[in-house]
């Protein structure tokens, strides 16, 4: 028996994301009781008017941020895959920031240690950005489900089904 990866992360559909930054407000309000995109664990990028996408931690299988930390301040939780920070060990050196290909781990402007999405593990209703996104562009998925969706979408296109492709 093989085991399907159960690690979940927040996936963003660039077709649906409109760059409204509601996720940033929801995140910073939930985590820091203030509206401030600089304290959001998810960040919106507008490369051009038609290319918008929010980015947050993908809970990589072999996270570069953890590997890069020279002080062993970062680790990955074996059950959820969350990136966990030992605040006492972090000195804000930024090696993890440099290592992350997605800009998903950041230095907090006040605490001076790094911070990253934890999928709102303390919230019963899950990640707040997903809950708030007006476009339903954010979903909490496993990599396996993501691949399933991609396959279905590709096959639908191939057979040119008349119904609207999700």
């Amino acid at each position: 028996m093989v085991k399907i990866h159960e690690r979940k992360f927040i996936s963003v559909d660039p077709e649906k994301c409109v760059g409204c930054q509601v996720c940033e407000y929801a995140c910073s309000f939930n985590k820091e009781k203030a509206f401030n995109p600089l304290k959001s664990r998810i960040r919106v990028v507008r490369v051009s008017q038609v290319a918008n996408m929010a980015v947050t931690c993908r809970l990589c299988e072999d996270p570069a941020c953890v590997a890069a930390c020279p002080r062993d301040a970062l680790s990955q939780a074996s059950d959820t895959g969350n990136i966990v920070l030992d605040k006492d060990k972090c000195n804000g050196c930024g090696w993890c920031i440099e290592a992350c290909d997605y800009g998903a781990i950041m230095l907090h402007p006040e605490t001076k240690v790094v911070y990253v999405c934890d999928l709102c593990k303390d919230k019963a209703d899950g990640p707040q950005c997903v809950k708030w996104c007006p476009e339903e562009a954010l979903t909490v998925v496993t990599s396996d489900v993501l691949a399933q969706k991609a396959r279905i979408s590709a096959i639908k296109k191939l057979f040119q089904e008349p119904e609207k492709i999700e």
């Binding site: 409109v18 760059g19 409204c20 509601v22 929801a26 509206f35 008017q49 038609v50 007006p134």
Partner: protein, 618 residues
């Protein structure tokens, strides 16, 4: 202080010196924010009769108490206020995006620019640090190019920028101020005021937390409005967008066509919202904090205008399309892109081009006088050429670059009868001859011909009132709606979301209270809206405007709608206009001259300005 940063930044461009003025609670509550506080600051920092393009004319940038919060559409607005070079009265334009939120996070409710820089500069606001930088290398660039260049220069890609294009640099009185590439503070020519100060751009990065007075109740209200925005109140904006109006207004024969020669466009289908969405709309995007997103981005993928991208709305399609008799959407999108490139208000630009076409067709201007452009209604190529020439002030473009009123003065020969403007500001896409509440609202709008100062047009279009009739009672309708609109532009929330405020003043007062913590009843907030409109009137009176300027374009009053259809023969007579104006002034508590009475100023707490009206009441 919640909702307000409590600070006004003053920048003297002549010396580069800056200082901070405290914004006290009383002023904040009295004028709310946005255009309210902006006009108050303008009045306090200017002298009567100031030349709009002189260093002595202050330019004010203001945000509102709701700015940078999570309230949908509330996070993102900002307003520019000054004396308009186009009208000589209040110059005011609101824009959305994210720029306004960034100003608030940097810690300012408003910025007052005075003086003129010796050479082109831009302002860089990095929270507390405010610096005036050389903009020599940016001069001549488009707003989008300017934004990219500043981000590169400063090395921060989350900086927000508002800037002028070539038209503003050349002090075109139809120039706008563009932020984030596709959003414009469009009307009343404030790009020229910025250009006259040698101020190319304002770049800002703000990092402060924004905290509201009642966070838990506030977030519940946000949730409620997210739901409302998914419902019918915002349906139009979420789907076809404002360009839906092309077909609906055309069917009602109230879409001015070929510079008001018609009220119905036979080829409307070709430039409809449906055609636009089907062929060109690549993406609908949102401003900061918005849950209804409405910004329709059009891309041309093939043909002579391949690679063109512009934000399309009813207003720019109408002005550059049916209003010029043009039925080619690709050319209209190209013309809209060029307006953004040069920093021109697309509405005023379109009306100026249709004016030229009209002058040519009526023989007022000969073909030889047209600088090689075949300016006929329906000529899509001429449309694109003329936007280029106006943007560069090149050849015939120089004559047109200050809008129709000034172009008509230069041309003479009774051409002012073809110049569709009020107070020097070009009309927008609502045929006033058969929309009589709208006609009144345009006549009295403090910034000139415009549909954004009240919701009068929705009353006419929805059938709430008989649109063909001028009757008593319309004055009160316009007045009440103007007061709500003034608040929308002061808080600042978005007018496209106005339908989600089911109870208007009640809802807005609740929002204001949850954000600021100030108890304000809906009545008190309504009074603030009235105060802001009266403040605008006081500015206009101080600058020499009055009842004589509350009028309508010649064609609206002298050339009935010729098209066979429901509106055939409609026109606004002088008697009708007089009746409407009297009714409106009465509803406002103004004298028959259109001057606020002493009692009214007393009631609104505007006594400090009573010297402006003294001797002018009769």
């Amino acid at each position: 202080m919640f909702g307000y940063a409590g600070r006004v930044l003053h920048v003297d461009l002549a010396t580069g010196k800056t200082n901070i003025e405290k914004l006290d609670n009383e002023t904040a509550k009295k004028y709310v924010g946005g255009i309210g506080i902006g006009m108050k600051l303008w009045l306090a920092n200017s002298k009567a009769g100031v030349d709009a393009l002189s260093p002595e004319n202050p330019l004010v940038l203001a945000v509102g108490p709701v700015s940078a919060t999570m309230f949908p559409t509330g996070g993102n607005g900002h307003a520019f206020i000054s004396k308009s070079p186009a009208t000589g009265g209040v110059g005011e334009a609101v824009s959305h995006g994210t720029f306004g939120a960034e100003i608030k996070r940097a810690g300012y409710d408003a910025i007052v620019f005075t003086g003129k820089a010796e050479k082109p500069v831009y302002l860089w606001i990095d929270d507390e640090s405010v610096q005036v930088f050389d903009a020599g290398n940016l001069w001549g660039k488009s707003p989008a190019e300017t934004e990219d260049a500043i981000k590169d220069e400063l090395g921060d890609y989350y900086i927000r920028v508002a800037s002028i294009g070539l038209a503003g640099e050349k002090k075109s009185k139809i120039a706008n101020i563009i932020n984030e590439k596709t959003r414009a503070a469009g009307r009343t020519g404030l790009g020229a005021v910025m250009g006259s100060k040698n101020l190319k751009a304002i770049a800002v990065r703000g990092t402060s937390d924004i905290v509201v007075a009642k966070p838990e109740e506030f977030i519940e209200m946000v949730k409620e409005y997210h739901e409302r925005m998914k419902g019918p109140a915002a349906q139009k904006y979420r789907t076809l967008g404002t360009s839906e109006n092309i077909m609906t207004q055309n069917a009602m024969y109230c879409m001015p066509t070929r510079n008001y020669n018609n009220a119905h466009f036979e080829n409307a289908q070709k430039v409809s919202g449906e055609a636009l969405n089907e062929r060109y709309i690549a993406k609908i995007i949102a401003c900061n904090s918005c849950a209804m997103r409405c910004e329709h981005e059009a891309i041309i993928r093939e043909g002579p205008y391949k690679g063109t991208m512009a934000r399309m709305e009813y207003d720019n399609i109408w002005a550059l399309g049916p209003n010029c008799g043009v039925d080619r959407l690709d050319a209209i999108i190209k013309a809209a892109e060029l307006c953004n490139y040069y920093g021109l208000d697309a509405q005023s630009t379109g009306v100026t081009i249709s004016f030229l076409m009209d002058c040519h067709e009526k023989g007022i201007l000969t073909h030889e006088e047209l600088d090689g452009v075949d300016a006929h209604f329906g000529n899509a190529e001429a449309l694109v050429q003329l936007v280029e020439k106006i943007g560069k002030r090149e050849g015939i473009g120089d004559m047109l670059a200050d809008g129709v009123k000034i172009a008509a003065q230069k041309i003479g020969k009774d051409s002012d009868k073809l110049a569709q403007n009020i107070k020097g500001l070009e009309v927008t896409g609502y045929d006033l001859r058969c929309l009589k509440t709208t006609a009144l609202s345009f006549a009295v709008s403090f910034r000139g011909a415009d549909h954004s100062r009240s919701g009068a047009y929705t009353m006419d279009l929805s059938g709430k009132v008989d649109r063909f009739k001028a009757e008593k009672g319309r004055g009160k309708l316009v007045k009440d709606s103007e007061d709500v609109y003034a608040l929308i532009d002061s808080l600042i929330v978005c007018k496209n979301a106005k339908g989600t405020f089911y109870k208007e003043l009640v809802d807005l007062a609740k929002l204001y209270m949850l954000v600021t913590g100030y108890d304000m009843t809906p009545q008190e907030l309504g009074l603030a809206g009235e105060r802001i409109n009266n403040l605008a009137r006081l500015i206009n009176i101080r600058e020499g405007l009055g009842r004589k300027d509350d009028t309508l374009p010649w064609k609206v009053m002298n050339q009935p709608i010729p098209d066979d259809g429901p509106a055939k023969g409609s026109v606004v007579t002088q008697d009708e206009l007089n009746l409407l104006l009297d009714d409106y002034y009465q509803a406002r508590g103004w004298t028959p001259n259109g001057v606020p009475t002493k009692d009214l100023l007393e009631k609104l707490g505007l006594n400090e300005f009573s010297s402006i009206t003294s001797g002018k009441e009769e």
